[in-house]
Every structure is written in structure tokens, then in C-alpha cells.
């Protein structure tokens, strides 16, 4: 947790604690100084911007059927060709990306909130710990894609159900992580001191355990978002995710597989975009890990 180990250089003006302008934390500078971090963040921003504003700039409706232009290859009008209904692949890819990002954001936020709550509660209160952890262990015994498939089979295809199913799959990992980091903090002398001073357990939990769970949470959220995007794509690819009428990367990859022999471009655009997004998130995650914990061994 020694995040603030790098102090300002000698002779440099030390920023006052109560200064109106808050300087970014040390880890941000360490993050910015790595090539992996800046490149990953740049790519991530690019993908997010493209998926957010791209559909507005496209002249095509993602679900407009054009029977004349079915399965047309890449051209000046359709940069990545058209699908089996004559719909523009690029436009559908961008709209699908939007859906992916919405699902990822919703699941990550939900899992962070619920995971942090469960993790902190079970670290602080032993009575909560046993049952909650047993239950989460059992949830973690399921291979996550399979558990999500089972839930989706029962709930039926819709964006809310995908978010619910993927959150159920993601929460246990987050909760375990927060619990283990909170247990370490709980043993530190300052928490002992706080207990000796008579602070209530709830106060200790919120003031100390919560504050110290921030950096593992940021890391888990980054890698978690990548896993969620991958799982959502896998579910939609298998036909167990969003409804088939909504453009998704997984659904487009499924079309691409069906028409592999006569339309190679169908799978390429969404597949590359998905890979790019996952790569950028993993790169940002790696760089963050190095930046947040300088002692961890660097990959390069």
C-alpha cells in the first residue's frame, strides 16, 4: 500500500495539503510514464469515442435492410461491406460497441458497489463472513461463462438480464479481493489504535478499510471490464445474450461464422474491434498494476 513512497524532489516546492489545486496522485505520473499505459489509454479512448459518436456520423441506419446490397464486399460506400440483410457492417459494429460498453460499464459499477460492500462487511464482521463467503465460493465454483449461460437461459435475452447475469458472475471475485485487502489493513497498527481509541467498527470500516481498498478496486475494475466485455460477446455469439435484433459484436461474429465462405468481412470488423478494446483494457490494467504497486515486478 506504499503508494506515496515517491516524494517531491529536493528543492521543489512542496504542495500544501490544503491547497485549492489538488495535484494528481503519484501513481498517475508513474502510469503516464509507461508506454504501455499511454498507448493502452489512447486506444481505449479512441474505441470509446468511435462507439459513442461514430453511429451519429454514419449515414446508415444499423438495421436498415437493403436487399440489393446483400453480402457486398468492402467498398467506398460500405467500408467493411454489408451483411446478409444488406446492412452496413461498420455502422452495426459501432452501435454494437456502444451496447458492449454500456453493459461493461453497468456491470462493472454494480459489481464494484456490491463487491466492495460485501467484501468490507465480511472483513469487519465475522458473523457475516462465514455465510457470505461460503455462498460466494460456491458461485465461484461455476465456470463463469457457464453460470452466465444458465442464468440467461432462464431469464431470456435482454440487456437488463445480461447485466444482471454478468454481475452475479463478477461480484464474487470483486468481493473476495476487497475482503482480502481489507483483512490486511485490519491488522495494521493504526486500525488497532483506532479500535483502542474506541471508534466504532462501522466507522473503522468506512474510514480506513474503505479508503485502502481503492487501488485494488481500480485494478479489478479495469480487468473486470475486459472480462465482462468478453463474456457479453461470448453470450451474444452463442445466442444467449442480447436479443438477435440488437446489433452486438458477438452476434455479428456469429453471422460472420455462418457466412464465412462467401463473406469474410463480416467477422473481421467486429472481431478486430473487440480485440482492440480488450487489448487496450489489458494494457491499461498492466500499467496501472505497475503504477499502483511499485514493488510488483514489472513485465518489461
Amino acid at each position: 500500500m506504499a503508494v506515496n513512497s515517491v516524494g517531491p524532489a529536493i528543492g521543489q516546492e512542496i504542495p500544501a495539503e490544503s491547497a485549492a489545486v489538488r495535484t494528481p496522485p503519484d501513481w498517475w505520473y508513474r502510469f503516464r510514464s509507461t508506454r504501455r499505459g499511454t498507448l493502452g489509454l489512447g486506444l481505449l479512448v479512441l474505441v470509446v469515442l468511435a462507439c459513442t459518436f461514430g453511429p451519429l456520423l454514419s449515414p446508415y441506419d444499423p438495421s436498415a435492410v437493403d436487399p440489393v446490397d446483400r453480402l457486398a464486399g468492402p467498398s467506398a460506400e460500405h467500408w467493411a461491406g454489408t451483411d446478409q440483410f444488406g446492412r452496413d457492417v461498420i455502422t452495426r459494429m459501432l452501435v454494437g460497441g456502444r451496447t458492449s460498453l454500456i453493459v461493461a460499464a453497468a456491470v462493472t459499477v454494480l459489481s464494484v458497489v456490491v463487491g466492495t460492500l460485501l467484501g468490507l462487511l465480511s472483513a469487519m464482521y465475522r458473523r457475516v463472513d462465514g455465510p457470505v463467503m461460503r455462498f460466494l465460493d460456491a458461485l465461484m465454483a461455476f465456470p463463469s461463462v457457464l453460470l452466465a449461460i444458465a442464468l440467461m437461459a432462464r431469464l431470456g435475452p435482454s440487456i437488463v438480464n445480461v447485466i444482471a447475469a454478468l454481475s452475479i458472475v463478477t461480484v464474487p471475485t470483486f468481493a473476495r479481493l476487497i475482503r482480502s485487502s481489507a483483512l490486511v489493513v485490519k491488522e495494521t497498527p493504526y486500525v488497532e489504535l483506532a479500535t483502542a481509541l474506541g471508534l466504532r467498527r462501522r466507522t473503522i470500516m468506512l474510514r480506513y478499510l474503505f479508503a485502502n481498498s481503492r487501488s485494488p478496486m481500480i485494478l479489478a475494475a479495469t480487468f473486470g471490464a475486459a472480462t465482462v466485455i468478453l463474456s457479453e460477446a461470448a453470450l451474444s455469439f452463442l445466442g444467449a445474450g442480447l436479443p438477435a435484433s440488437v446489433p452486438t459484436w458477438g452476434g455479428m461474429l456469429n453471422d460472420g461464422q455462418t457466412y464465412l465462405r462467401n463473406a469474410w468481412w463480416l467477422a473481421l470488423a467486429p472481431g478486430l474491434m473487440l480485440t482492440l478494446l480488450l487489448l487496450s483494457l489489458n494494457m491499461v490494467g498492466d500499467a496501472l498494476r505497475d503504477a499502483l504497486d511499485p514493488r510488483s515486478d514489472r513485465l518489461s
Binding site: F135, F142, L146, A234, L260, L278, S300
Partner: protein, 314 residues
């Protein structure tokens, strides 16, 4: 050792019970009437009533759960609604491709991942290390189903070297079996090799420990140190990560079977979703969770065998 195995076995009982309970709850506690979900909204009330009667949905939940859990103990998973055969039989029919795919791809993953992880850890910062690290980042980024589609595009459609999908049993035609399993096993195996990275960092941890320094100091050369000291100590975390990779394997197999049209358990599960064949889905998911729990146990036992500290507790 026997005592360790026994306590670990006993500790599985509550986990497996809760796993069964969760699987049951997914079907029964989620919103909506299963009879409506299975038959669709067009069915008449009489048809729904008949199905509820048949599935035992009219009985109290506790009774339903006990009947179902009791069936599990005798490997009776109920009957498939769509296929009209016992679920256990449906699963058995699809078992062979899944089992072989899992075996081959785990073999690929271990044969590639372990040496590559050790090598890049031993020669940290070298060319191999950089290449391997770059490759694992890429492998982590490419979803295995996209990799599968790319592989089919290249090897089946463009080059025409291998079949794009389907399954041939090894007892029927061994060469045909090897051809149809080549791409799926490589794709799934490669997508699991990202654990090489964790093996690398555990090798790095051991390499910087004091006993390795001592080994060098007493005059051993690098191959000797790696063989005698580093590998043994790096083996424990490696076994654990390979165990975790097994969980990804079970999930990945579903998608890979779908891509390559292998009629395995994963494919059966995916088809059962469209057919709303809940007993099959339930049994498939439950079995994979049980398998994963068992693998975790085996991993723990191997770790205890390799490291006495685990056996006697910290």
C-alpha cells in the same frame, strides 16, 4: 497426507451442496413460470398444467429440491424435455468430443505454456522473454471464438488443409479425428497459455531468493540451479494456475465446440438454450461446476504433496 486429503474431501460437501442449491434456484427462483417459458405463450392452460404436473412443479419447492437432489446422488438428472431421453444419456452421447477436446487443449496449453513461462523467467529481459510477454498480451486480447473463426478462414477456407468443423471419432477414423481436432485443440490450447505469465513471475520470485544465490555461490551452474532449485519451488504456484486454467477450459470448450461444430456437451448446452430444455442445462452446468471443484481439490492435493508446508498448515 491421508489426513489432509480426508479433511479437504469433507470440506467439499458444503460447497457441493450450495452449488446444487444455486443450480436448483436458477431454474426455480427466477421470475416467470417455467411452464410458460418452456411451452411459449401460445400454449393452452391445460397444456401448461399437464407440463407442471409432469415436471413436478406443483409440489412444494422443498419437496422438489429433495427429489431432484436425491436423483443427483444416483446420477439421475431427470429427463430431457426436448430429446425425450434421460439427461444422463444425452450427456453421455456428447461426452467423447468434449473430453478429448479438453485433454488435447490442456496438453497444448501445458506443453507450450510451462516451458515458455520458465524460459522467459530464467532469461528475463531477453529476446525470448519480450516475445513471449508480447504474445501473452495479444493472446489475452483475442477472444478464442474470434481466433477460431480466423483459424477456419486461414486453414479451412483459404488453404483447404483442414476441415472447418464436425467431429470424427478416433475409433472410426484416426486420421480424420486428428484432422478435425487439430484446429479446435490448438485454438483453445493457445487461448489458455496466458498462464505462462504467472509461471514466469513465480520463476522470477524464486530466482531472486537467497537459496538460489547460495546455490550459485557454492559453484552450481545455471542449468543445475534451475533444475534443482528453481523448478521445484516454482512448481507450486504453477500447478495452482493450471488448475484455474481448467475452469477457463470448461467455459472455453463451450464456445470452441460451437465454433467448430463439435457435437460435445457445450454444443448440447447451447442447443438446449434455444429449446428451453432446462433439465439438460441444469445438469450440464452442475456437472461442470462439480468437475471444477474436484480439479481444485486435486490441485490442492498435488500442492500438498509438493510442499509439506501446505500439508501441515501454516
Amino acid at each position: 497426507m491421508a489426513r489432509f486429503v480426508l479433511t479437504r474431501l469433507l470440506s467439499l460437501v458444503p460447497v457441493l451442496a450450495i452449488v446444487a442449491l444455486i443450480t436448483f434456484a436458477i431454474l426455480n427462483f427466477t421470475p416467470g413460470d417455467p411452464a410458460v417459458a418452456i411451452l411459449g405463450i401460445d400454449a393452452t392452460p391445460e397444456q401448461r398444467e399437464a407440463l407442471r404436473e409432469e415436471l413436478g412443479l406443483n409440489r412444494p419447492l422443498i419437496e422438489q429440491f429433495l427429489a431432484w437432489a436425491g436423483g443427483l446422488l444416483t446420477l439421475d438428472f431427470g429427463s430431457s424435455i426436448y430429446l425425450d431421453i434421460p439427461v444422463s444419456e444425452a450427456l453421455l452421447r456428447h461426452l467423447e468430443p468434449t473430453l478429448l477436446l479438453a485433454t488435447y487443449s490442456l496438453a497444448v496449453a501445458i506443453l507450450v505454456g510451462v516451458p515458455v513461462g520458465v524460459l522467459s523467467g530464467v532469461r528475463r529481459g531477453g529476446t525470448i522473454d519480450r516475445l513471449v510477454m508480447g504474445a501473452t498480451v495479444l493472446i489475452n486480447g483475442i477472444p478464442n471464438f474470434f481466433l477460431g473463426i480466423l483459424a477456419i478462414m486461414l486453414f479451412a477456407v483459404t488453404l483447404g488443409l483442414l476441415p472447418s468443423g464436425g467431429y470424427v471419432s478416433p475409433t472410426e477414423d484416426f486420421i480424420g479425428h486428428a484432422q478435425c481436432m487439430m484446429l479446435p485443440s490448438l485454438v483453445l490450447g493457445i487461448s489458455l497459455t496466458s498462464f505462462a505469465r504467472i509461471i514466469r513471475s513465480s520463476v522470477l520470485d524464486v530466482m531472486s531468493s537467497e537459496f538460489v544465490e547460495t546455490a550459485y555461490a557454492k559453484g552450481l551452474n545455471r542449468p543445475q540451479v534451475v533444475r534443482r532449485h528453481v523448478l521445484r519451488n516454482a512448481a507450486i504456484p504453477s500447478v495452482t494456475v493450471i488448475g484455474i486454467a481448467f475452469g477457463n477450459l470448461l467455459g472455453g470448450a463451450v464456445v470452441t465446440e460451437y465454433v467448430f461444430n463439435l457435437q460435445g456437451i457445450g454444443q448440447l448446452l447451447v442447443e438446449s438454450i434455444a429449446r428451453r430444455d432446462y433439465p439438460v442445462i441444469q445438469a450440464g452446468v452442475l456437472l461442470s461446476a462439480f468437475l471444477f471443484v474436484l480439479v481444485t481439490l486435486v490441485v490442492d492435493i498435488i500442492c500438498a504433496y509438493l510442499d509439506p508446508r501446505v500439508r501441515y498448515g501454516r
